[in-house]
Amino acid sequence: MTLIKPTRRGVIQAGALAGAGIAMPTILTAESHAGYRNAPQGSTVTLGFNVPQSGPYADEGADELRAYELAVEHLNGGGDGGMMNTFTANGSKNALKGNGILGKKVEFVTGDTQTKSDAARASAKSMIEKDGAVMITGGSSSGVAIAVQGLCQEAGVIFMAGLTHSNDTTGKDKKANGFRHFFNGYMSAAALAPVLEKMYGKDRKAYHLTADYTWGWTQQESIAAATEAKGWETVKNVLTPLATTDFSSYVAPVLNSGADVLVLNHYGGNMVNSLTSAVQFGLRDKQVNGKNFEIVVPLYSRLMARGAGENVKGIFGSTNWHWSLQDEASKAFVKSFGTKYGFPPSQAAHTCYVQTLLYANAAETAGTFNPCGIAEALEGLQFDGMGNGATEYRADDHQCFKDVLVVKGKDNPTSEFDLLEVVEVTPREQVEYAPDHPMFAGGDLGQCNPGA
């Protein structure tokens, strides 16, 4: 944000005005001349954690917040260091020293997005304007992520997206100041389609139920394209209103539609309810076209899947990360998170933790908190040891490219956290796409904005 630099005269006048009440005020201008917005003053740097604390995603938000607090603890040298010990950037060890970022102790402010773009922007603005946050991160839906990303671009701070799965976040709504570690609809579809083909065969007829808003559409478009490429036929795509709680009316006609697979392009509460309805209607016990009827949930959230209870058993989907992964990085993260909080982290927690470390590392390598410096350090960054294997932050659209997990609802869970099992780790090459892919076209990264 450009600030009017107070002229000398303006300051004197204002001082005289206020001086009437307070004897000998010291007059300073708040903005240092660091050349970017909210340059940290003194010995601390403030990060803004903007997560849903009320509304349907409050639990996911709470888990994100736990991850952020853990990340801050690790950055400041506390705890066991978690993934700081495994994280490698551009082939060498990361630049994090455990003394904060650039020697400044990390502090944070939190806010409630309420999963509404207005509230999320208000909250982010207060972090930027009032608390001097130099980076905003978090969120649990694409609408919010895109809204806050736009705000951060205008305000001149970095946005490290939390859980956002829509193609648009790094597609038509991408911004130079915004970065996404989480995967997206296209990648889900690309990872899922081969597994579905392998499990259910080439000759399938799919019926889609799709949440009637932007994320749902991009998700459906991606998965339909990917499965059709494998020989599936999309029988029908039915849009369901966001406010639907009882999906029976949408599920009831499925069985007699000639389809033998139901794809639920829903997330969160919608997913829980539509899946529950589908199972209640006995779809999974039926045979159509001589094949077992199957249900697919392209985007899984373990936290939410718990709400569907036993209904998730045997159902395929994709996820960004899962705590049962056995690589060193994931194990280290699960250990420090689990020790601190008593349960394993969710994928939302993972992506938020990773984003924070990535930001900190970028600041260290760039030697500044200036968003343009950080963007430069993040663009094209090759890193590993963060639980997803070798990963790249692509410079063209600020999207991370990494392996994608295909998971299945576990048949015999051993604990309340053990709901999903990883059936395949789809390699990165398979989910990659060109920056100008039609599903992502139309956007413009623009120029990085340091805000001053």
Partner: protein, 348 residues
Amino acid sequence: MDAILLQILNGLDKGSAYALIALGLTLIFGTLGVVNFAHGALFMIGAFCAVTLQKILTISSVSIDPEKKDFLGNPMEVKTPYVESIFGEATGQLIINWSVPLAILFAIPVMLAVGYIMERGLIKHFYKRPHADQILVTFGLAIVIQEIVKHYYGANPIPTPAPDALRGSFDFGVLLGFDPNAVIYPLWRLVYFAFSALVIGAVFAFLQFTTFGMVVRAGMADRETVGLLGINIDRRFTLTFGIAAAVAGLAGVMYTPINSPNYHMGMDFLVLSFVVVVVGGMGSLPGAVLAGFLLGILESFAAMNEVKSFFEAIYLPSIDQIIIYLVAIIVLLTRPRGLMGRRGVMEE
């Protein structure tokens, strides 16, 4: 034809939830003249009665099983519900399995108590206050209840399945001479519909055939006159509030296997139930029931692909998004007081 039958069943099912909530709401309007924005919260409390009972029944003794490992690699805790150790494993599991129907017994006293406390503690003081004040105070109460539930149970939905015996689906069509597999309907949803019909019937019978019911009906017609007759109307109104709360609560208990309950389910139903009550006509019990089923069925029809494409052809895409409100507008414009409303109730 089978598709239509399926949607009628769906509609009746949704309608029963709407009707049960609206029934209590309109009872409170009619007898007490109170706009109760906390009524959705009562529905939610009912649902969480089922969750709570499930939790109580699964309170467990904890032992360590060194063979199994938890997610951190430590020996795993194995939990055995006390119910199983007391009644034996088979009986114990059966009891836990049937926790939702059992929760009805648990919910009735709880809901009556909640209703009693709410009415005596709060609502009572708002009889003579403007509706706007009533809205504000009950809305505040709804938020408070919601936040308390969120604090104890979290924000995510909690699965509360139906008993195994009632979990499957049922080939309803065969009974009516359709081909097998044409009209398959979940058993529990049929149970829900039957249960609602029973509760609605019980409420009407109660109001129709008991002296108490007569006084309540008289009170709905003319509160002041009944008061003058020397009947202790206040005590009866307290009980009325309790009944309304219990009906909403029961609707909530039985709803849990259909959709896993979460802390904001009450708010989700609140607006809808007001629309139902108003479409039915303020202060009319049959109106509330009629409107509940009507809107449920219309909502189900609007979700049908054929209907959606028909409306799309006449430039009304996504009719299922707006059907409830569209119907409400049409009904209110053609029938000034809803389907069966009485003149002068809540018209100022």
